[in-house]
């Protein structure tokens, strides 16, 4: 079941209202609400054309260490540019060149930002980054 909420509604207010509504729904439904969620979206217009080289099947895979030992998080970035892969060494063409300026800017922004693993444990450092091809 899906509806629309007033723009600018704080997430805690929205979730409280949804929980209230789920009680009212339960009273008229033979089903049981098991999950409720509120989503805020932003769309970019006008769009710029994608580069010809980009293909969503080429996935830049970033493995992050978290502040909890032995716990890692993964970010999968579709359309990763193959021009940003290492060109020397045994993992050339596979590992992402993390010294490249744009790549290191992305890594820094993720580590310095609000981002965490799915259990809200902060990301601490990049453990590994490589290209994965999806069929």
């Amino acid at each position: 079941m899906r509806g629309t909420i007033e723009p600018g509604t704080a997430q805690d207010v929205a979730l409280d209202k949804l929980q209230d509504l789920s009680g009212a729904i339960s009273a008229i439904s033979s089903c049981i609400p098991v999950r409720l969620a509120v989503t805020y979206s932003k769309f970019f217009l006008p769009l710029t054309a994608p580069e010809n080289e980009g293909s969503v099947s080429k996935v830049g895979t970033f493995i992050w260490e978290t502040e909890e030992p032995e716990v890692f998080a993964v970010t999968a970035l579709p359309g990763f540019l193959t021009s940003l892969l290492e060109t020397d060494g045994p993992f050339s063409g596979v590992n992402i060149d993390t010294t490249q300026e744009d790549v290191s800017a992305f890594i820094e922004a993720v580590l310095d930002g609000i981002w965490s693993d799915p259990f809200a444990v902060d990301l601490s450092t990049l453990a590994s980054a490589y290209l994965r091809e999806e069929s």
């Binding site: 629309t4 008229i28 359309g79």
Partner: protein, 171 residues
């Protein structure tokens, strides 16, 4: 019914490549982070993503979710395809729709309309309409009144089919 927030919200980017294929990228953030802070961080990350992919970022969305880890059992025989369809009037004269899965037969009139004088239905309508309500039309227009309400069925999708389908009683 005891809903608890997930520890994190999900930020999802929607990307498109030059062939027109779409893909999503997801990050997580602590659930207490305000939407404005998430959008600021996501905005900052957008050009960095575009710089290392050949894709265009179409949009991003931040989702906060709660789940009931021990929900009560649904009523026997309940089916989500059996909908209660509520059409609401909007302040701008358009309409918007909400569909309640598994509408109870006890809320229905013989005609197939939903009894809007039923106490539980009235409570549901009040939760959707009454000021101050956060629920709006898709264009953010206020919901002002119920226009029509009736039972409606929809075709089962694969996900809607019962989990137990074996003719001999297996899973």
């Amino acid at each position: 019914m005891a809903f608890a927030s997930k520890p994190t919200g999900d930020l999802t980017y929607d990307l498109v490549d030059s062939s027109g294929s779409h893909a999503k990228m997801q990050l997580h953030f602590p659930v207490a982070t305000l939407v404005a802070a998430v959008f600021t961080a996501a905005d900052a990350l957008t050009p960095l993503i575009q710089a290392i992919t050949g894709c265009t970022v179409l949009s991003f969305s931040a989702t906060y979710a709660s789940a009931d880890s021990a929900p009560a059992a649904p009523l026997a025989g309940s089916r989500i395809e059996d909908k209660g369809r509520f059409i609401f009037r909007l302040a701008n004269t358009l309409t918007t729709k909400l569909e309640v899965p598994g509408i109870l037969d006890t809320t229905l009139l013989a005609s197939g309309a939903i009894d809007v004088e039923n106490a539980d239905v009235t409570a549901f309508l009040a939760a959707v309409i009454d000021s101050p309500s956060i629920f709006k039309g898709v264009d953010a227009s206020d919901i002002t009144a119920i226009k029509s309400a009736y039972q409606a069925f929809r075709r089962s999708t694969k996900n809607m089919l019962p989990s137990g389908r074996d003719a001999f009683g297996g899973a």
